[in-house]
C-alpha cells in the first residue's frame, strides 16, 4: 500500500503532467514523474491518481497502453502502443488464420509515434499477445466526436509478428478489468470537471436579479450530478479493491456506471450551462465529447450492462457483494 504522502506527491506531479498541450509533452512528463515505475511498484492503486486527473484535464496520453501492456506481463514504454478492441466492443482485435495475422482495432494517441504495438489475437481458440512493428499496420486518425482524444483506427492483413506470448483467458480478463477501472476513473474525472463548470456558471450567472444557482430546478440538477459521480466513484473504488487484482465482474459494473452516469452528468450540466454550454468557446463540449468516446473503450455501458443481465439470468443468482 502506498502511504498517503507518497500518493499525494504522485497525484500532484501527475496533475502537472496533464497541463501540457501536446501528447508528446504529456508523455515526456509522465516518464519524468515515473508513472510506469509507480504502476509496477504500487500496482492498481495508482490508477485513480492518474486517470481521474487525465479526465479532469481533458488530456490524453499512452497511459492506458502502458496499463494494458504491463497487465499482460509485457514491458511498457513510450515506444509501445496497445491495440484496443474496436469501438464499443471488447473482442480481441487480432485473429490468426492460415498463418496470417489480421488486425482491426483502435489505437490511442500514442499509436502514431510508437515503434511497436502489442495486440491480443485469437488463434484456434487460444489467446496470444502479439508484438508487431507499427509500420506494418494501417492507421488513420478517427475524427469523430472527439478529435482531441487522438484515437486512430488500426487495420492490417498478413501483419508480421516480431514476438508473441500465450495469454490465458483469465489474464486477459484481469487486464481488461484494470483497463476498465482506469477508463471509469477517467470518466469520473471528466464528470467532475463538467460539474465544476456548471457550478461556476450557476453561482455567477444572474437572471431575475439573482444567481441561477438559487433556483431549485437548477440546484436539483447539480445535486443529481454529484450523486451520479459519487456513486460511480464508490463503485470504481470497490472494484479496484485493496489487493493486486482488480475484480473483473466489479470492474465491468463500475465502468458501466461511470459511462452511464457521465451521460447523466453531461445532460444536467449542459442544461444548466444553457446557451454558453452549446458553444465551441466554452470548455464544456470538450468533456462532453470525451465521455461519449471513453464510454466506447473496452466495452460500452449498454453492452456490458446487457451482458451482465444475460449472465445473471443464466446463473439465476446474484453475485456475492464485497463484504463489509
Amino acid at each position: 500500500m502506498m502511504d498517503a504522502e507518497t500518493a499525494e506527491l504522485l497525484a500532484e506531479s501527475l496533475g502537472r503532467a496533464f497541463r501540457h498541450e501536446s501528447v508528446a509533452a504529456v508523455e515526456a512528463s509522465l516518464a519524468e514523474v515515473g508513472w510506469r515505475e509507480a504502476l509496477q511498484e504500487e500496482g492498481a492503486a495508482v490508477i485513480p491518481l492518474l486517470f481521474t486527473r487525465q479526465g479532469a484535464a481533458n488530456a490524453t496520453s499512452g497511459a492506458l497502453d502502458d496499463l494494458l501492456t504491463a497487465a499482460l506481463g509485457l514491458p511498457a514504454d513510450p515506444g509501445t502502443a496497445f491495440v484496443l478492441p474496436e469501438f464499443g466492443t471488447y473482442g480481441t482485435p487480432g485473429r490468426v488464420q492460415d498463418g496470417g495475422l489480421t488486425v482491426r482495432g483502435l489505437g490511442t494517441a500514442r499509436m502514431p509515434s510508437a515503434a511497436r504495438a502489442v495486440l491480443l489475437a485469437e488463434r484456434d481458440g487460444a489467446l496470444q499477445a502479439i508484438t508487431v512493428e507499427t509500420g506494418g499496420l494501417c492507421t488513420r486518425p478517427v475524427g469523430g466526436v472527439d478529435p482531441r482524444l487522438g484515437l486512430v483506427a488500426v487495420e492490417g492483413q498478413g501483419v508480421l509478428a516480431s514476438g508473441s506470448t500465450a495469454v490465458t483467458p483469465a489474464a486477459w480478463e484481469n487486464a481488461l478489468a484494470s483497463g476498465r477501472v482506469a477508463v471509469a476513473y477517467e470518466l469520473i474525472g471528466a464528470s467532475r470537471a463538467m460539474l465544476r463548470l456548471a457550478r461556476e456558471h450557476a453561482v455567477t450567472r444572474i437572471q431575475f436579479g439573482r444567481p441561477i444557482g438559487t433556483f431549485q430546478a437548477v440546484r436539483h440538477r447539480l445535486a443529481e450530478c454529484l450523486v451520479a459521480i459519487e456513486s460511480a466513484e464508490a463503485a470504481a473504488a470497490i472494484a479496484l479493491g485493496t489487493g493486486d487484482r482488480v475484480s473483473p465482474l466489479l470492474a465491468g459494473m463500475a465502468k458501466s456506471l461511470a459511462g452511464r452516469n457521465a451521460r447523466t452528468v453531461a445532460r444536467h450540466c449542459q442544461q444548466v450551462l444553457a446557451g454558453v454550454g452549446f458553444t465551441d468557446e466554452h470548455d464544456f463540449h470538450h468533456y462532453f465529447r470525451r465521455v461519449l468516446t471513453l464510454d466506447g473503450l473496452l466495452g460500452d455501458a449498454r453492452t456490458l450492462t446487457r451482458e451482465l443481465g444475460e449472465e445473471l439470468l443464466r446463473d439465476r443468482r446474484l453475485p456475492a457483494a464485497p463484504p463489509l
Binding site: A202, G213, A223, T305, G309, L313, L318
Partner: protein, 376 residues
C-alpha cells in the same frame, strides 16, 4: 472481537438457530405478528450477545466496532429474518439516547430497546410540519420540575406499539424557529396521549397520529439542551442514513436475488436487470464507505444525503423491475408471494418521501456539498 470473528461466529449461530428465528406464519404475517417476531429476534440476538456488540458498555453493550451492528442487520436481512425498516429504528434512536440523554437514563433505557423488550417511536413530523421541520408547533411549557406538552404529531411510525417516544417540542416563542425546539424522552403510557393508527397504501398501519393533551414529562427526560432540539434532530438524521440504509441495501439484494431465482424465463429484459444490479452494487459500495467512516469515529454529516438519494432511487428501481417482471402477481396475485411483492412494491413508493424527501436531500446536497448558497 473483530469483524471477522463476529461474522464467522454469527453466521454459525444463525445457521443453527434459523428455524427458531424465522417468522412462523410466513411472509404475509400481520403487523402485530411481525412486531412480536421482531422482539423475539432482538431478544435472542441480544441474549446470545450479538446484538450487544458495537454498542457502548455503559448502555448494556459489549463495545467494539459499529461494523458489527452493520453486519448483524445485514445478516438478518439477507436471510429474510427481519423487515429492515422496523428493525433498524434502533440504529436511529439508540445513538440519540447515548449522546443526549442523562447517562443514567440511557443506561436504563437503551438495553430495553436493544433487547426488544420495548419499541420506541420518533415524534418529529406534524400536520403542518413535514419537510420544514424547523416550523414545528407541538408546545412544551415548563411547570416546576416537568414539561407540559400539548399538540399533535403525525407519520409517527409504530406509535401504537411504542413504549417511549423521542419527541421534538416547541419551547421557545412560536417564531423561534430552529432555536426554540427542545427534545424529550416521553413515556407513551403517560396520561393525555392518544394514538390513532393510519392505514397506509400497502395495507399496513405503518404510522400514526399522536395527540398530546397536557402531557406531563419530567424535566430530567430532556434530551440535550433546552432549546437545543434542532441539534438533536440534526445529529440523528445522518444515523438514519448510515447503518439502517446498509441493512436496507442487504434486504434489496435479498429481494432481487429472490426475483432472479423465481422469475419465469423471458420475463426480465437483461439490460434492465443489469442496470438495476449495477445500481444496487453502487449503493452497496457507497454505503460500505459510510459504514467504515462511522466505525473510524468520523462525524457523519450532509454527505449521507447522497446515500439516501441512492438508496431511494435504487429501491424504487428494484421494485419497478419486479413490477415489470411479475405484473400479474402484483396486480391480481392472491397467494402469499403475490401479496408480498405487491406490498413491497407499494411500500417502495415511500422511499423518496420518508426520512427527508428526495427534494430535501437534494436541497442539502446543493447547499452543503455543492456550496450553492441558500435558496433566494
Amino acid at each position: 472481537m473483530d469483524l471477522q470473528e463476529f461474522r464467522t461466529g454469527l453466521d454459525a449461530w444463525l445457521d443453527e438457530h434459523e428455524p427458531e428465528l424465522r417468522a412462523e406464519s410466513g411472509p404475509d404475517l400481520t403487523l402485530d405478528e411481525e412486531m412480536e417476531h421482531l422482539s423475539k429476534v432482538k431478544r435472542m440476538t441480544y441474549d446470545a450477545g450479538w446484538m450487544r456488540r458495537g454498542w457502548p458498555e455503559r448502555v448494556g453493550g459489549l463495545g467494539g466496532s459499529t461494523l458489527m451492528r452493520a453486519y448483524l442487520g445485514e445478516a438478518l436481512a439477507s436471510r429474510d429474518l427481519i423487515e429492515p425498516g422496523v428493525y433498524s429504528m434502533t440504529e436511529v434512536l439508540a445513538p440519540t439516547m447515548i449522546e443526549f440523554a442523562r447517562p443514567e437514563l440511557a443506561a436504563e433505557m437503551v438495553p430495553r430497546l436493544l433487547r426488544g423488550d420495548e419499541t420506541w417511536c420518533q415524534g418529529f413530523s406534524e400536520p403542518s410540519t413535514g419537510s420544514n421541520l424547523g416550523s414545528l408547533s407541538c408546545r412544551a411549557r415548563r411547570d416546576g420540575d416537568a414539561w407540559r406538552v400539548t399538540g399533535q404529531k403525525v407519520w409517527t411510525s409504530l406509535a401504537q406499539y411504542a413504549h417511549r417516544c423521542v419527541l421534538l417540542t416547541r419551547t421557545g416563542s412560536p417564531e423561534s424557529s430552529h432555536r426554540g425546539i427542545t427534545a424529550m424522552f416521553v413515556d407513551m403510557d403517560s396520561p393525555g396521549i392518544t394514538v390513532r393508527p393510519i392505514r397506509a397504501i400497502h395495507g399496513r398501519d405503518e404510522f400514526c397520529e399522536v395527540f398530546f393533551d397536557d402531557v406531563r414529562v419530567p424535566v430530567d427526560r430532556t434530551l440535550g439542551e433546552v432549546g437545543g432540539g434542532w441539534a438533536v434532530a440534526m445529529d440523528l438524521l445522518p444515523y438514519e442514513r448510515s447503518t439502517s440504509l446498509w441493512h436496507r441495501g442487504a434486504y434489496l439484494r435479498q429481494r432481487l436475488g429472490r426475483l432472479l431465482a423465481t422469475v419465469p424465463d423471458g420475463a426480465i429484459d437483461p439490460g434492465d436487470l443489469g442496470e438495476v444490479v449495477q445500481m444496487v452494487f453502487a449503493f452497496h459500495a457507497r454505503s460500505r464507505g459510510t459504514q467504515h467512516r462511522m466505525a473510524r469515529g468520523e462525524r457523519l454529516g450532509p454527505e449521507t444525503s447522497i446515500d439516501k438519494v441512492l438508496l431511494a432511487t435504487t429501491e424504487q428501481a428494484v421494485f419497478d423491475l419486479v413490477a415489470d417482471a411479475v405484473p400479474t402477481a402484483i396486480a391480481i396475485g392472491d397467494d402469499a408471494d403475490g401479496d408480498r411483492w405487491r406490498t413491497e412494491f407499494l411500500y417502495s413508493r415511500a422511499a423518496t418521501i420518508y426520512g427527508g424527501s428526495a427534494e430535501i436531500q437534494r436541497n442539502i446536497i446543493a447547499r452543503r456539498l455543492l456550496d450553492l448558497g441558500t435558496e433566494r
